[in-house]
Amino acid sequence: MTPNPTAVGNPFAGAKNQQERRERITRWLLRLVTFFIVAVTLGILALIAIKGSPVVFRSQWPFVNTKFLTELPSTLHVIEDVKGNKQEVEVGHADEVKAGLGDNFHSETTISYSGGGILGPIVGTALLVLVSISVALFLGVSCAIYLSEYAKHGKFLELVRLAILNLAGVPSVVFGLFGLGAFVLTAPVFTHMPMDRSILIIPLGFTTLSFEGWDTCVLSGGFTLAFVILPVIITASEQCLQAVPQGFRETSMALGATRWQTIRYSVLPFAMPGILTSSILGIARAAGETAPIMFTAALAFKDKLPWQKALPPLPADASIFAHWEQSVSRLLGVFTESVQALPYHIYTIAAKIPQNEYSERAQYGSVFVFLVLVATLAATSIWLRRRLRAKYRW
């Protein structure tokens, strides 16, 4: 950009050279700092990949540690015999192995949460994400439609925008407190026997509506997470709606369509792919949050999957209808169970149990799986967004 001064016989050429050198050095310093951030990030990812992949992958077929991905977490027993050989044993078989060793038995160490796999946390996180993204998409997209298609400048719009902005800044642990107060302890349920803590009981004849809360369960956690990611979804959706050219709307209106028909047939179809891809980023965020689910949904340990709840056994001659009803209640019961969640599981095994080689394995394994899930989501979102941008260019 700067013309070469020597070419025009500039008397300050010497000074200029010095300046050029200084400029080059500064530029390199800036580059160094930038790549320092990049290097730190990649270093962390590489570390987790290097230490975590041996836990998840195997060198023989099927190349994946299926046990780690398909079993529930359990306590690991490490049994040492007199020769110093160590054996890792699952919780149920420890006594067997000890009896088998007989006199050769030397010592036993137990490490909580480090045995088995992480299926429970994965399922729990999936359920939480499912609930939260459904709620957040419903609220967020309709909010964005209003903001972008209906709202006129005014007090209400200002207020909504301000609220969204502030909601995005609320600390996640405060969302946790909110979820605890609102969903766990106050939200309305239909019940025959209202609890003492209920703040409002509305008799409906066949049942009562009692504001006594949902307890710690997937629903409470999912709703809490939904509000954590709501600002992200609203902002992203609004951007996608705004990106649809104004001409589409005008054309539709000119053909006599109502406002809703315009939105339904001329705006949403073109904005929806963008909204969905952006919401994947919301999913990643929801999956990664720990503080909001600490008091609303997550358990440190659970030995059953959410749908394995014990229901009263049906009589042998139960009608097919009874079976069907039980399956449905089992399916819906999934949402009223507290679950393990991946981030909370990582917190538990990183902070609450003593560190050794066995717990480290569980830690890096869980972190690796978690990060791969989240990174896949984030990367998919970024990639899809790029493709969409290339596709819808108007």
Binding site: T34, C143, Y146, V174, L180, G181, A182, G256, G288, M294
Partner: protein, 624 residues
């Protein structure tokens, strides 16, 4: 065509005019379908507002009772006389600090004489432990066999002994004699250790000799530092009588408090007891004020005498320095003790605890003590200081990094570099905070600690550090978390600088660097400030990293160590909620206190947002 125009219009008598000019609409309570849809979206869009209001409401609902509850607790604290005891107890706590300083002085002094003997003894014992560790399996088997009832066969025992002997000899042969031992001692040690067996009760002879030598040297050392030893002992024993009296009083106060708790819990049932007569319960305390004051004075005298008899010089320069520090602290401590004795007669159990005082006790209290058998305190300052220190440090680290990265990426980087840098930095946002916290526990903590023990870095304040988990560690990770927010906002701000400014600068013959640093960055200043503020907002509200990494020690960091303060552990506003809320029962003062902390956090986040918006508004104004 008309049906398409409006799906639900059912013209009863269709005429051309009515179709073209006004389509009849089905309405309900004056609301037609279009309005209903519009209303539906409008109500959904108010979700954000409603949630924000609900957050405030629910936080207040659980937290607002904190003031009366805590007031009641403080009142009980006062009425039962716990406060009376604390008047003396709290200043007396400093005696412990002084004692520990003296003990360190003493051990440093003794160490100058005993160091060699002790390290020789310790080295030898370490060798024995090494051998025992190597042969632990064989030893365990033999011990089990010996303990068996009925006793194991002699041949088996002999065989086991032989195995142990072989293993021991193998282990001994691998030993390297420590340099502090003479060759002959080393040889004896090896010989004795080779015969080590679980049956021999006494340690090998060499070890006993070395121990005896150490004890002898130690006695000598004590003799040569006799004045110091005696002064330290006298100083330590100075408050004994005061402690005895205080413990009696404390016991009484605690009993009164138990009565109060009992009274209030029985109040909910039917058999309500008579209210407690605090006046008569408090007399046993107040009647002993003269005695208490006398003992405080006696303690002060004794401590002074003991301090006066301390020798001017200790064994090492550092010890002498510590000794003079202790001497400097003592007068203040004694003044405080005497002042406490002066306050005792004025103390009254029935003074009212006003709400103002409760609010002060919460917002300016310097102790957060829970689950205590004595008295719970919910003082906010230790947590706030931790949070603010960590957040400020994180922002200090993140700001230069992210702004420089933004400048470089926006102004200097080639397109290919940009395509690499931007996604990577944006990806940091997707890394869950609990993962970063885990990195802090498992990797960064050790790295920082190792670096702090490198000898040529010892000039840095706070080095070498003791705690793996500390504020600096947390701040580094939080800085990394704040980088993407700051980076993208700062980059936006740089992008928004009008093209004309840059062209004008170029036209004046400025170099690229001059344009960037004298035109672009200054005009983006307010946008960059907003970026920094929003980064601060993100950092101060972050929970998992600080919970995992900050060390969770609830105390105001010790600022006397200067900048080294950042290497101390601390607790934070967010961390305390996450850590303690799961373990308290609903409605207790502790529960309510945690919700109060939540309210404060919420307000802080609103404030930060408001400031950032103010900056952005200024930025938009300056642009236009």
């Amino acid at each position: 065509m008309p049906a398409d125009l409006n799906n639900d219009s059912t013209p009863s008598r269709p005429t051309l005019g009515s179709l073209l000019l006004k389509s009849q609409r089905r309405t309900f309570l004056g609301v037609d379908k279009q309005k209903a849809i519009r209303f539906f979206f409008a109500s959904n869009s108010s979700a954000a507002v409603i949630v924000l209001v609900l957050i405030m409401l629910f936080l207040l609902r659980e937290g607002v009772d904190f003031l009366p509850t805590y007031r009641h607790e403080l009142e009980t604290y006062q009425h039962a006389g716990l406060e009376f005891c604390d008047l003396v107890e709290q200043p007396l706590a400093e005696h412990q600090q002084l004692c520990s300083k003296l003990r360190r002085v003493l051990s440093a002094s003794l160490n100058t004489i005993t160091y060699q003997a002790r390290s020789r003894r310790d080295a030898a014992y370490q060798q024995m432990r090494d051998v025992e560790e190597e042969t632990r399996l064989q030893r365990a088997v033999l011990t089990n066999a010996l303990a068996e009832v009925p006793p194991a066969a002699l041949e088996k025992l002999a065989q086991l002994r032989q195995e142990l002997l072989t293993a021991t000899q193998l282990a001994v042969s691998r030993l390297a004699v420590p340099p502090s031992l003479t060759p002959s001692e080393g040889w004896q040690l090896k010989r004795d250790l080779a015969l080590l067996s679980p049956e021999s009760a006494e340690p090998p002879l060499v070890l006993e000799l070395l121990s005896a030598a150490y004890i002898r040297v130690d006695t000598e050392a004590h003799a040569s530092f006799k004045p110091l030893v005696e002064a330290v002992e006298a100083f330590e024993a100075a408050p004994d009588e005061l402690h005895t009296l205080l413990n009696t009083l404390k016991k009484h106060a605690r009993e009164t408090k138990a009565l109060v708790t009992d009274f209030h819990s029985s109040g909910k049932g039917h058999g309500r007891k008579d209210p407690i007569d605090f006046a008569s319960r408090i007399t046993p305390l107040t009647s002993r004020i003269p005695e208490l004051s006398g003992r405080i004075e006696a303690y002060a005298q004794r401590a002074q005498t003991a301090a006066a008899s301390l020798p001017p010089q200790a064994g090492t320069p550092q010890a002498t320095k510590m000794l003079s520090e202790m001497r400097a602290m003592l007068p203040g401590h004694l003044t405080e003790m005497r002042a406490a004795a002066g306050k005792l007669p004025q103390w009254s159990y029935e003074k009212r605890v006003s709400y103002f005082k409760v609010v002060l006790a919460f917002f300016f209290g310097d102790a957060w003590i829970t689950n205590s058998s004595w008295q719970d305190f919910f003082g906010f300052i230790p947590l706030l200081v931790g949070s603010v220190l960590i957040a400020v440090l994180a922002v200090l680290i993140a700001t230069p990094l992210s702004i420089i990265a933004a400048i470089y990426t926006n102004q200097f980087a080639s397109v290919r570099e940009q395509d690499f840098i931007k996604p990577v930095i944006e990806f940091i946002q997707a890394i869950p905070s609990v993962v970063l916290g885990f990195i802090g526990i498992s990797v960064l903590g050790d790295v920082i600690k190792d670096v702090s023990h490198v000898s040529w870095l010892q000039w840095l304040p706070g080095f070498p550090i003791q705690e793996r988990l500390n504020m600096f560690n947390a701040a580094c990770l939080l800085a990394l978390m704040a980088v993407p927010t700051m980076f993208s906002l700062a980059e936006d701000a740089l992008n928004n600088v009008p093209r004309a400014y840059i062209d004008a600068s170029d036209a004046l013959g400025a170099t690229k660097l001059q344009t960037v640093f004298r035109v672009i960055v200054p005009s983006a200043r307010s946008g960059i400030s907003a970026a920094v503020l929003l980064g601060l907002g993100r950092v101060i509200g972050e929970t998992m990293v600080v919970l995992l990494v900050a060390g969770n020690r609830i105390a105001i960091p010790d600022f006397r160590s200067g900048l080294g303060v950042v290497f101390q552990p601390a607790h934070t506003l967010t961390g305390i909620i996450a850590q303690e809320l799961g373990e308290v029962s609903r409605g207790s003062a502790h529960w309510q206190a945690l919700f109060m902390v939540g309210i404060v956090l919420f307000v802080i986040s609103l404030l930060v947002n408001w400031c950032a918006r103010a900056f952005v508004r200024r930025f938009e104004l300056s642009k236009s």
